[in-house]
Symmetry: C2
Subunit: 93 residues, 2 copies
């Protein structure tokens, strides 16, 4: 799968929920939840979506109730449609 | 709760499973599991132990099947017995 071009990335970002940002070759979203249990519950749901898509984000649970989601397609060396598809699925949770 | 002294930290580290290391004010362990599903299952079990202890590690799920566990007692500004207690509980999973 080919990495998206910069204009394609900009257009794809505009279709996602606010809060997603590009960080180089990664698509990143920071979330603050009510507590640790809520973070873990969301991680479980993201994990189900990730398994369904066979595409696996990095997930950083930090400071008790914060979650950072990072998407990238390492095999393509950048962002691809797979990253934006999984981001949209996460938005839909 | 008072932070542990360096000799106390060294002694406590010696009682944990191999793989734990001190990184400044944090206690860190890197784990490589079979796959993403196995990582998430372990995260769920660590989360239960964390809730029981009312002490919450940072958890970094990365590169599909890797998990980094980081423990620290922010309120004490260092490592305390709570960190080593939770580390031992994680070892027991």
């Amino acid at each position: 799968m080919e990495p998206l071009t910069d204009p394609e990335i900009e257009a794809s970002l505009a279709e996602l929920a606010r809060g997603w940002r590009r960080d180089g070759s990664k698509l990143v979203r920071d979330l603050e939840l009510e507590n640790f249990v809520a973070v873990i519950a969301l991680v479980d749901r993201i994990a189900e979506a990730a398994e369904s898509a066979d595409h696996h984000p990095d997930l950083l649970i930090h400071d008790y109730r914060h979650l950072r989601v990072e998407l990238s397609t390492h095999s393509a060396g950048g962002l691809t449609a797979r990253d934006f598809s999984l981001a949209a699925a996460i938005d839909a949770l």
